[in-house]
Amino acid sequence: MLSAADLERVRAREPAALERFFDEHFDRVFGLLYRLTSDRATAEDLTQETFLKIHRALGSLDPSRDPWPWVATIATNVCRDHWGAASSRLQARSDSIDGEPARTDLRDGGTNPEEATRALQEAALLQEALGKLAEPARLLVLLHDWQGLRHDEIAQITGQSHAAVRQQYGRALALLRGLLGNLRP
């Protein structure tokens, strides 16, 4: 994890510090954007755009705080802009047919092939259910349960009140549970 001194160097755009910052956040940014869009090419586009915006906004990075909520805010805003564009809606219709499934990392040493296959199937099912969830609800459950952000941090990211986020998160989870129940054989 980068220290405050490291983050100061990131703010100053020192190449070595930027490399460390990138390495620390790239996988989470790409993973979040893939889970949010269910499309690899779109996730790549949005990841590039996110890092472009991060670079431009480095002056506003607070070295005294964990930078992940700040990074997640930028990534989330990029994704919401994408959702807001009419083109994303057109593209979304073809995702279920044309979307290239993302490679997921199942290499944890002790997993046997059967368990790995079952985990992959479960992940695919969950990703499908997430894709059917409304975009704001999808964002809440992924930020909270997959990315490990607290509701107050999510509230800052989405610009909502803490209470509203808690309430909507509960509904989103119930919806997701229902969707998963419908999808499971």
Binding site: R13, P15, L18, E19, F22, D23, F26, D27, F30, G31, Y34, R35, A43, E44, D45, T47, Q48, E49, F51, L52, I54, H55, R56, A85, S87, A102, R103, T104, D105, L106, A119, L120, E122, A123, L126, Q127, V141, L142, H144, D145, W146, G148, L149, R150, H151, V165, R166, Q167, Y169, G170, R171, A172, L173, A174, L176, R177, L180
Partner: protein, 272 residues
Amino acid sequence: MMDDGDGRAPENQRVRDALRALPPVVASAEFRARTRREFTSGGEVAKRRRPLAVALALAASIALALGGFAWLANRGGSWTIAATSGVGVVEVDGRAIDLADAAGLASALAPGVRVSTGARAELELELEGSLTLVVTPETTLRLPAAPGRWFGRNVTAALERGEIRGHTGRRFDGAHLRIDLAGGSVEVTGTTFAVLANAEGSCVCVLDGTVRMRERDGTFVVAPGRRRVIPPGESAGRDEPIRPAEAMKLEMLREQVEAAGTPGSGPRQAGR
């Protein structure tokens, strides 16, 4: 680290566990390396997505394609040679082409070219279904464009000397052909007619339909069976009956074209 919000109901726990167990998503090494390089080398990430630029380019392409399609669909055809008679050469924009070289003549004809027939050469030109023009010997004419199907239906020719005879077809309906002359201009909207420019002055003869002749003092309608002549150097024309010989030539043209199945039914043999 995390609070549970309103999702802590036991029945939601399985969903939460599944979400937390979602495996990390791995980007391709090439994409990761490229994005890292771009991020750390100055920040100007080469954006692959330029939604506005792409949308504008797409809109421009569609507009261009639609415009091109409309332009192509609107085209009223091109000039072809229906018949030739006599011998000698025809000059097209100053280039002499033997009357017998029908292919060479046809390829040289285009809207706006200056066609000049020799002393014994006569050409019958046509725009399929729209207009037949007989260019008699010793005539110099600037050829009009074909009227468009839906727009651009006003076209202009110019007769410098000699005589042309014309007959319009169904596709000409609604179009306007203006023929500029030394003493005025003639406006044709659907008729069998002849226009002359010679030592007697400028003249338009009408077999059927009507033609409007614009002179210095006004515009006059020339009725069927009449002709209007503007003598050289005079500003006012005079209306008189069409001469029998001219009426006969126009009748022959009309019958010939109609017998062939409206203007544009294919080339006829030379030597009428």
